[in-house]
């Protein structure tokens, strides 16, 4: 009876999660972030080469200190930062447009890219504050910045503008697609006019209408309230949300518990974490890359970020199953488990573990569900705690989630060897936690076999 109820609850949980993960705007968000990822990885490499490798060679404490050479070679990384991090809101707004069009099965995704980017820039302030360059004649000890027009600020087009890009991109493209669906606005130029001409009008009118609406909002905010939507979103939405993620590890632990529990029911954890957690955590690590690129220390309210999960709570894939595989090689007596482990260990080194989840299996296997959920939680909380205590350095760069352990910790923290040591300690802790549950799972399997034979 109780089991029946439990099963019904689990089914309901899986169904609701799948519905949340399948919601068209949330799915768009996840798709857009998946598409922009290579750009962030590139930014991470540029930041690491500039601020770790080059600094190691030509920096103050490097083995051939030379400030001039350092500044010159770092222009390379700065150029990449400018073209990746500093315009990532613009690019994301376009991608949001494209992915939303695809998910809504709208037949003109390119028009949506244009609308997304254009709407975002429409909402930006027309006068921005810019730092004066070192060569500027206006630069004095007291005056270091100036209000300028005719410029877009990287404060809006870059990492700080990501939340604006998401909300404005989604809103503008949704309006555009809605207006495009209104039959009365479709232009009929009659027979003889090439269909392509009529089609171009059919894009133009909805574009004109939807972007004009955004123009009106932008104008009202600027004229009547002397503000802009980017500032409002940053103050009232993105800052508080980033704050919640960094008010201790609890929000991340809670959502990740649910996400990994979902995986134990057979549905990928990113269905939940990919929409509720990863966009905000990715913005935090992207902020950190920009901060690190500028040579500034990472603020404490950015210690919790995507890399804490990708490097420290995803060793061998979701649930840190790498440790389960090591336990299996060393301590398991089950032939089946060892066969699965042999097949799964290589993909596991690159944090891919579907063979373990479905083959070992973890799904619907209660003894293993417990460590699968709690091990990552412990690692998220512990890594965050160690970062706050200053025992390991904060994550400064996004590295691909498929990077093997030790290397991923080194890269993510900008070559902090203590982070790599922590990752090795994590593997030992994880093995210790998994071991009794692995034994329990094997005993349960033996009993089942006996029952079948009896």
């Amino acid at each position: 009876m109780a089991e029946g109820k439990g099963q019904a609850f689990l089914d309901k949980f899986a169904e609701v999660s799948a519905r949340v993960g399948n919601q068209v705007h949330l799915r768009t968000l996840r798709d857009a972030f998946a598409t922009i990822m290579p750009l962030y990885i590139l930014a991470g490499i540029a930041v690491l080469v500039n601020n770790v490798v080059f600094a190691y060679i030509w920096g103050d404490t490097g083995f051939a200190p030379n400030a001039e050479v350092l500044a010159n070679v770092q222009t390379w990384g700065s150029a990449l930062t400018l073209g990746t991090l500093n315009v990532s809101a613009l690019i994301l707004a376009g991608l949001i447009g494209y992915c939303l069009a695809r998910n809504e099965r709208f037949d003109n995704p390119l028009a949506c890219v244009v609308v997304g980017i254009s709407a975002l820039v429409i909402m930006m302030p027309q006068t921005v504050t810019a730092n004066l360059a070192a060569t500027s004649p206006l630069l004095t000890d007291k005056v270091t910045s100036a209000a300028v027009t005719g410029a877009l600020s990287t404060a809006n087009t870059g990492t700080n503008g990501l939340f604006g890009a998401i909300l404005i991109g989604l809103a503008a493209v949704t309006v555009f697609i809605k207006i495009s669906g209104v039959e009365k606005l479709k232009v009929n130029l009659g027979e003889g006019v090439p269909p392509a001409v009529a089609n171009s009008f059919n894009v133009m009118i909805p574009m004109l209408l939807s972007l004009s609406i955004f123009g009106v909002v932008s104008a009202v905010l600027a004229v009547a309230f002397s503000t802009d939507l980017m500032t409002i979103i940053s103050t009232f939405i993105s800052t508080p949300l980033k704050g919640i993620m960094n008010a201790g590890p609890w929000a991340v632990v809670l959502i990740y518990t649910l996400a990994n529990l979902l995986f134990c029911l057979g549905i990928h954890q990113s269905t939940i974490s990919g929409v509720l957690l990863e966009p905000i955590l990715t913005m935090l690590i992207v902020d950190n890359m920009a901060t690190f690129a500028a040579g500034q220390p990472i603020p404490a309210d950015h210690y919790m970020n995507m890399q804490i999960i990708n490097s420290f709570a995803l060793i061998g894939g979701s649930g840190c199953t790498f440790m389960l595989l090591l336990d299996t090689f060393l301590f398991s007596k089950s032939k089946t488990s060892k066969t699965v482990a042999k097949m799964a260990i290589l993909p596991g080194l690159f944090n891919i573990n579907e063979p373990v989840i479905y083959g070992y299996p973890i799904v619907y296997n209660l003894p293993l569900i417990i460590p699968f959920v709690i091990v990552p939680d412990i690692f998220i909380a512990a890594t965050y705690g160690l970062t706050c205590a200053g025992i390991i350095g904060p994550c400064v760069a996004q590295v691909p989630w498929t990077t093997p352990p030790v290397i991923s910790a080194l890269l993510a923290t900008g070559m902090d060897w203590r982070a790599a040591v922590w990752q090795i300690i994590e593997i030992i802790i994880g093995m210790a936690i998994y071991l009794p549950f692995m034994k329990a799972s094997e005993r349960a399997q033996e009993l089942q076999v006996e029952e079948l034979e009896a």
């Binding site: 899986a14 799948a18 993960g21 399948n22 996840r30 798709d31 998946a34 598409t35 992915c99 695809r102 099965r105 995986f263 057979g266 549905i267 990928h268 990113s270 269905t271 699965v340 097949m343 993909p347 891919i352 573990n353 579907e354 063979p355 373990v356 989840i357 479905y358 083959g359 070992y360 299996p361 799904v363 498929t402």
Partner: protein, 101 residues
């Protein structure tokens, strides 16, 4: 030539399965191509597919794919968890070919 399109979350684990399925198909001399796509790309590659197989981790997307495949005579199926986990390539191919008919 029949084409089996496999789809999972990021296309990573499925690409592993595809490798095994291609080897199995080649060993048995089957006239079939097999390719893997991540969830956010798969919709663009439906047209020349004979069947779409979804990894169990994205089984919830079955309805979406059925909608997209409606009228194209492309069956959509979710790979059983155990076959997926154990990378049971031969069984998955046989199941797919039976569905294509």
């Amino acid at each position: 030539m029949k084409k089996i399109l496999l789809c999972c979350n990021a296309g990573m684990s499925t690409s592993l399965l595809v490798q095994k399925m291609q080897k199995d198909a080649a060993a048995r001399g089957l006239e079939v191509t097999i390719e893997a796509r991540p969830l956010n790309e798969a919709m663009d590659h439906l047209d020349d597919a004979s069947i779409v197989l979804l990894g169990p981790q994205i089984g919830y997307a079955k309805g979406d794919f059925e909608k997209a495949c409606a009228g194209k005579n492309i069956p959509v199926d979710v790979i059983p968890m155990a076959d997926y986990g154990r990378m049971n390539a031969a069984k998955i191919i046989d199941g797919a070919l039976a569905k294509i008919g």
